[in-house]
């Protein structure tokens, strides 16, 4: 080991020691080993697609149903969700089937079941279109979201969907849920 190597090795040890001394060692095993590499939120941004029901982290941009209807065709959404989103092998996204009176077999739709409008935006951006998820722009996701919400008569015609308006959309079944195990949360 050259002198330079010795010095840098010693410096590394010193840094490691000071890091572990600062950390809490709750379980006494020294598991707070400090192996995680610090990273900034701005460097995580390209991956951070989490949307919360109150609108937290919705991106800039906007869209309307008119644009969304065009995209629905262009992006091939109708292949699985039927013409105009009203059917297809993977289910209608625009439909007016009641939840009540059909027992446990009732079809859960966006309109009759989903508790939050943000879920629509999140799932389109995250997982659609099936063959190429996360290729839509945020404007396109807003437009498709507007197309679905307007088709389901959950927003008045022409309503612009953006970070502000989307979380305010009232979902009919918002209060239709019972928390199964509140003590686990």
């Amino acid at each position: 080991m050259s002198m330079l190597e010795k010095i840098s090795f010693a410096a590394c040890v010193a840094v490691a020691l000071s890091t572990s001394a600062m950390a809490d060692d709750k379980n006494g095993l020294g598991t707070n080993v400090g192996l995680g590499q610090p990273i900034t939120e701005s460097d995580i941004k390209p991956w951070d697609i989490t949307i919360l029901p109150d609108g937290t982290n919705l991106p800039p941009g906007s869209g309307t149903a008119v644009v969304g209807a065009k995209l629905f065709l262009e992006k091939g959404c109708n292949a699985c969700h039927g013409e105009g989103g009203t059917g297809g092998s993977n289910g209608a996204v625009i439909t007016d089937i009641p939840l009540a009176g059909r027992g446990i077999e009732a079809t859960k739709t966006i309109k009759n079941f989903w508790g939050s409008s943000t879920t629509v935006f999140d799932f389109i951006r995250r997982a659609m279109p099936w063959p190429a998820p996360r290729t839509l722009t945020d404007d396109e996701v807003y437009a498709l979201t507007a197309f679905i919400l307007e088709g389901n008569k959950l927003i008045p015609p022409g309503t612009v969907m953006d970070a502000k308006s989307l979380p305010q959309v009232k979902m009919p079944n918002k209060d239709g849920f019972i928390i199964k195990f509140p003590d686990r949360i």
């Binding site: 095993l29 598991t31 990273i39 939840l99 446990i104 879920t119 998820p133």
Partner: protein, 436 residues
């Protein structure tokens, strides 16, 4: 004169020939068989033994990867989408062909919503951020250096056994009905150790966990669970995770519904509220008969089913059989399993295979002497929290049934079924699914 191992009337502990589990301990089961199959034993006499062909020559050459016997080639999973069409793929574990408690890796059930991603572990990264003092990113190389733990636990799809919401019995085998649960030994890093490092904001209550799969599946998980027994899993039954189980790293939430055990974990975001992601907002919110629905069901509650004998098998003659099955609870350890052979009129305690483990498969056994008459077999488990597997009537009253019979055993008329499974045996020894 009564010898120590003789079967007596006292050994029959419940209706239709259920025998005391104590017989298993004192080796009395041989006598239990002899007592009723005396005629068969004295009938055709065995032939003189010969040296078989396969014992005379050198066998095949050992290969780097072990191979099971070619005679076991039918022990495979059932697939719902073998051509990989653009929809979900399910593979179900053949519990009727397995025994013991561990599910072999290549037979572990799996569900993929957009195929198995081909992830390079050298490039894969896990980032933890959100309401934390210091966001971090971990390479797999670094993650491997944390202190690890090993535990057995089952993973069960929230939709396992869903066909049993049918109003009429479903004539399908055990694999079709209950194949979306498996049990393995998992090794990895306790999530709490990694979370310690980022410094969680005390106002945070949830984490969003997300995979690097094409569908970027994400679920909201209470931090309470994350800090209790969650593990970032790297090894499955001793070897690196199977690609279809989340290689190189998956989240394990012992006892909680399969979909939450996010595979290919690449991001954990600490937050103050649940996100109501697609799978928690829709699929895994089970509907109740009055159109309300449960949200955040999470726990796979106490459950058991008989694997041997089960649908599709045949009892060829009256006499001694062992009834055996699997019990588990997402809320604790199996404390007791009872078995009935008369459709629930009388119950007997089965022998429970020890040592029992929290949130893991527990095999149970009970000796049985079948008299050749119709019988209905069923099992019922109790965990150490006092949770009892619900009887069919009680379960249906709360959770409902379908209006029409379920014809596709792979469908999901609802979620989180944990009531009984009953097998009806007719005088010919044929086994069908029944409700009792």
């Amino acid at each position: 004169m009564t010898k120590k191992n003789d079967i007596t009337a006292l050994d029959e502990v419940a209706g239709n020939g259920l025998l005391s589990r104590r017989l298993l301990l004192r080796g009395g089961v041989a006598m239990a068989g002899a007592a009723s199959t005396l005629v068969a034993t004295q009938g055709a006499s065995a032939e003189p033994l010969k040296e078989p062909e396969w014992s005379r020559y050198q066998g095949t050459t050992v290969e780097p990867m072990g191979r099971r016997s070619k005679n076991e080639k039918d022990t495979t999973r059932i697939l719902t989408n073998p051509k990989g069409e653009p929809r979900t793929q399910h593979a179900r574990t053949p519990h009727h062909l397995l025994n013991g408690q561990i599910t072999p890796n290549h037979l572990h059930f799996t569900i993929l919503h957009n195929g198995i991603p081909d992830i390079d572990p050298e490039q894969h990264k896990l980032v933890i951020h959100g309401m934390v003092k210091q966001p971090i990113v971990l390479s797999m190389d670094r993650l491997m250096r944390y202190p690890m733990v090993t535990r057995q636990t089952f993973i069960e799809c929230g939709g396992n056994s869903a066909a049993l919401f049918s109003n009429e019995p479903v004539q399908a085998n055990l694999q079709s009905l209950h194949g979306l649960v498996s049990n393995a030994e998992w090794t990895g890093v306790p999530l709490s150790a990694v979370l310690d490092e980022v410094g969680i904001d005390p106002k945070a209550k949830w984490m969003l966990v997300e995979g690097a799969d094409t569908a970027a599946i994400t679920r909201s998980v209470p931090l309470k669970k994350a800090l209790d027994d969650a593990i970032l899993v790297l090894f499955q039954n001793g070897e690196r995770l199977m690609a279809e189980q989340g290689y190189p790293v998956r989240l394990l939430l012992p006892g909680w519904e399969g979909n939450m055990n996010i595979k290919y974990v690449r991001r954990i975001k600490i937050v103050d509220q649940p996100a109501l992601t697609y799978y928690e907002a829709r699929n895994y919110s089970p509907l109740l008969p009055d159109a309300k629905a449960y949200r955040f069901f999470f726990v796979n509650e106490v459950k058991s089913f008989i694997t041997h004998p089960s649908f599709g098998m045949k009892l060829n003659e009256p006499g001694y059989y062992e009834i055996s099955g699997i019990a588990y609870s997402g809320a604790g350890r199996i404390e007791r399993v009872q078995v009935t052979a008369d459709g629930g009129k009388t119950w007997a305690d089965a022998a429970v295979q020890g040592p029992t483990m929290h949130k893991a498969f527990t095999r149970f056994h009970i000796p049985w002497r079948w008299d050749g008459k119709p019988a209905v077999l069923s099992s019922r488990a109790v965990d150490d929290g006092g949770n009892i597997q619900p009887l069919r009537d009680d379960f249906v009253r709360e959770r409902g049934v379908t209006q029409k019979p379920v014809t596709n055993p792979f469908g999901f008329p609802n979620q989180h079924y944990n009531s009984l499974t009953s097998w009806g045996i007719n005088a010919k020894g044929e086994i069908s699914h029944v409700y009792a």
